[in-house]
Amino acid sequence: MASPVKKYGFINAKLRTRISKILDDEFMTRLARAHTLVEAIQLFKETRFSGIETVYTKTGDLKMVELELLKYEINLYVEIEKYVTDNVLSFVRVLASRYEVDNLKNIIRLWFDKIIRKRDIQDALLYIYGERIHYDLHRDQILSAENMIQIAEILKDTPYAEIIQKTREEVEKRRSLFALETELDVYYYKMLIAEVDKLEKSDRAIARRIVGVEIDLKNINLIVRFKNLYDLPLLDALKYLLPYGHSVDKQVLSDVYASQDVAGVLKSFVQKQYSGLDALLTTQSTESYSRLILIERVLDQIMMYEVQKILLGNPFTIGIILVYFIRKRNEIRKIITILNAKYYKITDDRIMGRI
């Protein structure tokens, strides 16, 4: 068995260098403060994202820029796969399948729009990621399917067929994809946790924590949205939540759901688990959209807190790989958010509040 230093020495040095080159808050502020989208795009010229400028000046299409960034993000995983072996390699591969799951969700959403909601999806279809990650998703066949049974048949060589079969009735009954999308997430995290359990002890603890925290944050986000935007009964809301969380159990989520003061409940949770970050929740907001943004920001901060902890800890663990992916995802998400905001002429202050 390779020693941790041998296993992670090279990749640790490589990824730390790359992490240090991630576009910093100062750049994001400059981007947000750019007067127009045209001027914002120019800022990328001298960065590693110069491809953004090239794609935009050639096509004028921000969605093409997003597609380019998605390709870039997926390639990060493919690239890291070259530097890891055995169980870590399998783990990274499963991490990459997140994009396949998301892509499948997007395709099925389009199918749903076309067949159930009878909408025109042709334009949206143009920007669907078309490369294979692990399985062929046969997007044209799915989009031409008449029902979910046909979709399951089209995907029969993939693990997704079973999930579609399992959730078919509920999707049809509720005329909503919630159940299917949740099951796809559960499948992804189940695979991920299975791979985490195969890792060595020190790696396992770190990966468990990060994946658990990610699930916690996703669940909090979901429950807050259920409460604010949908009128679901508590039991139904809890049903759609993901297992394998780190420290947010069903009780906390039930409290969040039942309480009139969501921020208050979250505050007491954050105080317990992440003392120091609770100050972020003191800002009062009556508007539900602003409250959602506020809560999302706190959740982001919690993840960044976990990332920082890993960066300051033992360098020779799987933590550095996880941190790299999280930070890069965060960087790309910020870029996309700001560029779209610039396109829709949203003011700097609102953009800054959002990122």
Partner: protein, 671 residues
């Protein structure tokens, strides 16, 4: 050149109505490193007010950035070289912002049109992707594209209407292939998107379309379809490129105007910055700052000229100002040495800016770095390669990147060092082409030859690097003593470990070590010598802590002498002695890495030579090229880094106080 550039401090008072001209003159000269008068502990401090610039510096800076951003669309960069202060005039901020908004908006218009073409291209590419899924088009027609978004139809129209149909279909993402013409009817294959079916059917109706099954061979039609799609995509891409060119030419047409605006912004920005350092009374303006002493007269004359002698200028030595509570770290430092030494100045500044009034380390670093690199990487051939790389780098980066330009210059220096030491060691791409001038490094390591002088074997090489280390550390200690004398820090001069007593101990330690080594590692110098050379400074050091205590007590009588204080004295003395013995020993032995790297360099070359010898003549050439390349890259990098490390940690730690602040006057060319 020996010390940092002497500075003068100025406090100037001019009449309010002269202040604009004075500000312009100060920018034009670019000599004054400003310091707000309110930072001085002078009687004026509380009697003056800050001057609030008329224009919004932040908005101007923002406009400047916007102009740079727009100019970068055409790859036009701005230059600070030809700025002229006479062009300074007020900027109409609102009008300029509107102009930039208009330009940006126009470019966004072009981008939006490019986006429309992009969507057409994507649709055509999607058609192409789906057509490619079929074995041939006939198959696609038969299954009626069940899994596709495509509508593939065959039929005929009167030949006279075929042109109208093609024209009408141009509006939609589609492909029309003419299959054959029979009896004035043209048989066509039409591929379009299912979502456009209703529009397509309308066009068909107007053209007299008749559905019909094509029974003939459809081989080759697929290629025609794909070819047609490629042509359509290429046309649309060209349209996109044309729009991009139009967007760029919009900027190009206004480049002159934008550059002029940028210059005005830049001048206003500098003007605001200078004014922000001004303070005022009812009718006068005051400012202060530092200037190299040699430029005092220039500034004085020009200010007097501008103000027609109606000014008051008070010059002083910055060191005297320190007594008036200006922190010494506030005095700016200029390292002035020949341009040729600029790469070494970069090395010094990367570490820190030395304290004002101390010796400029640049020339010493140059000599030490040059020798260290050569001792580790002495080879004429490889040195020539480095020089060439450095020259190419310099040519590429001369006007692009100052840092990389200076790094390229450093590589030239490293190459020259490698050439000189290569001649001394007789090494030419690892081959002894000529007799070494000093000793045969390769011969000693590979045991093919004996050395000369005191460098006869590997131990001789190790000893050489230790002597070199002693020399470097010795020079460092001497520089430190000179710095302390210059700064009149007498106590530190005598009692610090880098002062006279420390130097004395180091010298004695070196002699003792040398004596011990040259007497078969069995004998030390006689007792009286040891008592005088090592015992006496050790004894002196004991008084350091008590003297410091007394000095503190004089300053602050509340400090009391407790029974633990003598224990502190003893511990401090003991720890300092340990630090001196351990520290100086480690610092000196650290220079053995120079021999280590030199030996590794020779060994690697020897290994590649052996591989080349055993591989035969033809294979030898690529092996030697690869070997030399690898050695130049890896060993060059190692030798460069180790030389830097020895300078930073062994040499600088003896004398360098990096608390200085770089001299940065506000000028037309400053950042």
């Amino acid at each position: 050149m020996m010390f940092t550039t002497p500075m003068k401090h100025i406090i100037a008072v001019v009449l309010d109505h002269d202040s604009d001209n004075v500000a312009k003159e100060l920018i034009s000269q670019g000599l004054l490193h400003f310091m707000s008068i309110r930072e001085l502990h002078s009687p004026w401090r509380d009697k003056v007010q800050d001057v609030v610039p008329d224009t919004s510096g932040a908005r101007i800076a923002e406009i400047k950035k916007r102009i740079e951003s727009l100019l970068s669309i055409t790859g036009t960069s701005v230059s600070k070289k030809d700025l002229d202060i006479e062009k300074l005039k007020p900027l109409d901020i609102d009008r300029t912002e509107k102009l930039l908004d208009d330009i940006s908006g126009s470019i966004q218009g072009y981008r939006d049109r490019q986006k429309q073409f992009q969507q057409e291209i994507l649709k055509l590419r999607d058609i192409k992707r789906q057509v490619n899924l079929f074995g041939d088009i006939g198959e696609g027609i038969k299954i009626h594209s069940a899994y596709s978004f495509l509508s593939i139809q065959t039929g005929s129209v009167p030949s006279s209407k075929a042109g109208d149909l093609s024209l009408a279909m141009k509006e939609l993402p589609s492909v029309i292939i003419k299959l054959q013409e029979i009896d004035q009817h043209t048989h066509l294959l039409v591929i379009s998107m299912k979502k456009d079916d209703s529009r397509v059917n309308r066009i068909f109706e107007q053209s007299g379309w008749l559905d019909m099954e094509i029974t003939g061979d459809m081989q080759g039609v697929k290629e025609d379809v794909i070819g047609d799609l490629d042509v359509k995509c290429a046309v649309l891409e060209k349209e996109q490129d044309d729009l991009d060119k139009q967007a760029k030419s919009l900027i190009q047409d206004r480049t002159g105007e934008l550059l002029d605006l940028w210059e005005i912004c830049r001048l206003n920005e500098l003007y605001s910055r200078v004014k922000s350092y001004f303070s005022k009374t009812a009718r006068t303006i005051l400012f202060s700052g530092f200037i190299p002493a040699s430029k005092q007269k220039v500034l004085e004359e020009s200010v007097k000229k501008i103000t027609a002698q109606r000014c008051y200028l008070e010059w002083s030595n910055p060191v005297d100002r320190v007594k008036e509570n200006i922190p010494s770290s506030e005095i700016p430092v200029e390292l002035k040495n020949p341009k040729i030494l600029s790469p070494f100045r970069m090395l010094v500044q990367n570490y820190a800016i030395p304290e004002y009034g101390s010796i400029d380390p640049t020339p010493f670093v140059a000599v030490a770095y040059f020798c260290m690199f050569g001792l580790m990487f002495g080879d004429v051939g490889q040195g020539i390669i480095l020089v060439l790389c450095g020259i190419i780098g310099s040519l590429i980066y001369k006007s692009k990147d100052k840092g990389l330009f200076e790094l390229s210059q450093l590589i030239i220096w490293c190459g020259i060092s490698a050439i000189i030491f290569g001649i001394l060691f007789g090494s030419y791409f690892g081959v002894a082409l000529f007799k070494p001038v000093w000793f045969n490094y390769h011969g000693i390591i590979t045991e093919h030859a004996r050395g000369t002088g005191f460098v006869k074997d590997v131990y001789g090489i190790l000893a050489l690097t230790i002597y070199f280390g002693i020399l470097v550390i010795g020079v460092g200690l001497i520089i430190n003593c000179i710095n302390l004398v210059a700064k009149r820090r007498w106590f530190s001069l005598f009692m610090d470990k880098g002062g006279l007593v420390g130097t004395w101990m180091y010298g004695a330690g070196v002699y003792t070590g040398w004596y011990f080594a040259t007497h078969g590692y069995k004998e030390l110098p006689n007792g009286y010598f040891l008592l005088f050379a090592l015992g006496l400074p050790t004894f002196f050091f004991f008084f350091k802590a008590p003297i410091k205590f007394i000095k503190r007590k004089i300053h602050d009588p509340s400090i009391s002498f407790t029974p633990l204080v003598p224990v502190d004295f003893f511990i401090e003395w003991f720890v300092e002695l340990m630090e001196i013995v351990g520290g100086y020993l480690a610092n000196t032995l650290s220079f053995m890495r120079v021999a280590g790297l030199g030996i590794a360099h020779v060994s690697l070359m020897f290994a590649f030579m052996k591989m080349a010898e055993s591989a035969g003549t033809i294979a030898a050439i690529p092996i030697l090229i690869f070997g030399n390349g690898l050695v130049i890259f890896l060993e060059g990098l190692s030798a460069g880094i180790q030389s830097l490390r020895l300078n930073y940690y062994e040499f600088f730690s003896k004398y360098f106080t990096g608390t200085g602040k770089a001299y940065s006057p506000v000028s037309l060319h400053s950042d």
